[in-house]
């Protein structure tokens, strides 16, 4: 709950300029689901749960990798100009 309130407060201050990178970043953060997936896959209780867990690890790693890389790529575009200007 505390996190939700903090989140609300922080996001409201994000400039419109950065909404797309912000979404990409929160997408990447939502790949925190990888934590849960790793636990399930790693416990290796039975075949079904291992498979489901591994599939979940796959889905969230995809998110993790693409989310961070694309955020970084977009931000670099905003960045480059600042260097040029100064």
């Amino acid at each position: 709950m505390l996190a939700a309130f903090l989140g609300l407060d922080i996001i409201r201050r994000v400039s419109r300029l950065l909404h797309t990178p912000l979404m990409a970043l929160t997408n990447a953060i939502s790949s925190i689901a990888v934590v849960g997936a790793i636990i399930i896959a790693g416990e290796a209780h039975d075949t079904l749960s291992t498979w489901l867990g591994a599939a979940a690890v796959f889905a969230s790693t995809t998110n993790l990798v693409s989310g961070y890389l694309i955020t970084d790529r977009m931000l670099r575009m905003f960045k480059r100009r600042e260097i040029k200007k100064s």
Partner: protein, 461 residues
């Protein structure tokens, strides 16, 4: 949970919060990514230390595959970012749904399925599955694989909510009597179908809002997963996501002067047939030569980009145009409507890609009072966000939506592929106005021609 894991999780949660904080300004945003990556690394590291984990084999294989698929997904052209976001939400929902399912069968097997556990698992699976199909549908609509028009039928909301209600009732029943395990796959199926039905009636113009909403759902399913696994890092990070998605959707709704419920259940554009007029109206069209002359003689130009610019990949030509005009002392500004494009901030990223200084970007509320003094408003592939019907025609489906007052400029130049109505399917009076000149064609080609005129002009004089 071991002490080391607990500590790593705590630091990781703090890093995520810092990341979102730093995201608020362009100059600190870079740090935000580093911090978020660090947070994630600690979270994964902490999890791998978990004593319950006995084998790394499957984790390694799955993670490697995730890398292989994820990497190309981060290389998509920036115009396709909205689709990618939808897909990524689908993956997030899928992960939550799968973990929930796995955990349910584990607990069922071991006879450890308490009422509380059943309730949170049901919540996680419902949220995860609807986010998964919802995200896929949104990606499909954004990629225009699925029709962008709202698909509606009578009693739609009743059908959709009966489905969701049925899933919830079945979930409650399972809490009551966990032995009825046949109900679990049914819940999954209902939630999956509900995700499809949820997005189906939503029209293209509402995509920015929907995408933010799905972001929020993906966050919430992570929260639910956190409750299922009793993992507070998942709850914290998920809540941050959920909140951020929610705030963005509220911002988007405000920008369109519509309520959240209206977007989700209103089936935007359904009223449209009633407002369509049959009278033939004439438009004035212009050539690149006319446009170049108009632009050079202007003192101030406001460029209003929309999704058309993204489709035509015209942002680099726009940059050339900006260079040419600034060189001649013309004051060029870019007015970006909050919902221009297909996701929040879409246009800003594209213009940034083309190296247009972001201090030239002005927001709608700041530019509107200046519009009557502007010589030329150049509309590039934007439509609904400059449609004056939003101010004047109470019957129009977009009535009341704040727009950029392009029509108040002395002259309006509008680049458009054809006279077809825009993504939302609403006719635009702006194109028939007396002070509007239309430039028909692909935005990239048209602006290219104009730039050629301008640079040719410069050489001969």
């Amino acid at each position: 949970m071991s002490q080391a894991t607990g500590l790593l999780y705590l630091v990781s949660a703090a890093l995520f919060i810092l990341a979102l904080r730093w995201m608020s300004q362009p100059d600190t945003a870079k740090r935000a990514v580093v911090s978020a990556v660090g947070g994630m690394a600690l979270a994964v590291g902490g999890t791998l230390l978990h004593p319950e984990i006995v084998t790394y084999k499957w984790i390694g294989i799955a993670a490697a595959l995730g890398f292989i698929v994820g990497f190309p997904l981060s290389r998509v052209p920036l115009t396709a970012v909205p689709e990618r976001t939808g897909l990524s939400q689908a993956f997030g929902g899928l992960a939550a749904g799968l973990v929930g399912t796995a955990k349910y069968y584990l607990w069922l097997d071991q006879g450890e399925l308490t009422s509380f556990r059943m309730a949170v698992v049901a919540g996680e699976v419902i949220l995860g599955c609807l986010t998964c199909t919802g995200g896929l549908m949104a990606a499909g609509k954004l990629a225009e694989v699925i029709t962008t028009r709202p698909v509606t039928y009578k009693g739609q909301n009743i059908v959709s909510f009966t489905l969701l209600g049925a899933a919830a009732v079945l979930g409650a029943w399972l809490v009551w009597d966990p032995t009825q395990s046949w109900a679990f796959p049914v819940i999954i199926a209902l939630a999956l179908i509900f995700g499809v039905l949820l997005i189906l009636p939503i029209g293209g113009a509402d995509m920015p809002t929907v995408i933010s909403f799905l972001n929020s759902y993906a966050g919430l399913s992570a929260v639910a997963m956190g409750f299922v696994l009793e993992n507070y890092l998942l709850i914290t990070a998920g809540a941050l996501d959920g909140a951020s998605g929610f705030v963005l959707s509220v911002i988007m709704c405000k920008a369109m002067n519509r309520s959240v419920t209206n977007v989700l259940f209103g089936a935007f554009g359904a009223v449209q047939t009633a407002t369509q007029t049959t009278e033939q109206r004439t438009v004035k069209s212009a050539t690149a030569v006319d446009a170049a002359e108009l632009l050079t003689n202007a003192d101030s130009v406001v460029i209003i980009p929309g999704y058309g610019m993204a489709v035509a990949q015209a942002q680099h030509r726009v940059r050339d145009l900006y260079d040419q005009l600034s060189k001649r002392g013309v004051d060029v500004k870019f007015a970006v409507h909050p919902v221009a494009g297909r996701m929040p901030g879409h246009m800003n990223v594209l213009l940034a890609e083309a190296d247009i200084p972001y201090d030239r970007l002005v927001e709608m509320d700041d530019v509107n009072p200046e519009m009557p003094q502007v010589d030329v408003a150049l509309v590039i592939g934007a439509n609904d966000v400059v449609n004056p019907s939003a101010r004047t025609d109470a019957k129009s489906p977009i009535y009341g939506m704040p727009i950029i007052d392009a029509d108040k400029a002395h002259t309006v130049l509008a680049i458009k592929r054809s006279m077809n109505p825009g993504f939302a399917g609403i006719d635009n009076d702006l194109y028939y106005a007396n002070n509007t000149l239309m430039l028909f064609g692909d935005a990239k080609a048209v602006i290219g021609d104009v730039v050629k005129q301008l640079s040719g002009d410069g050489a001969t004089h």
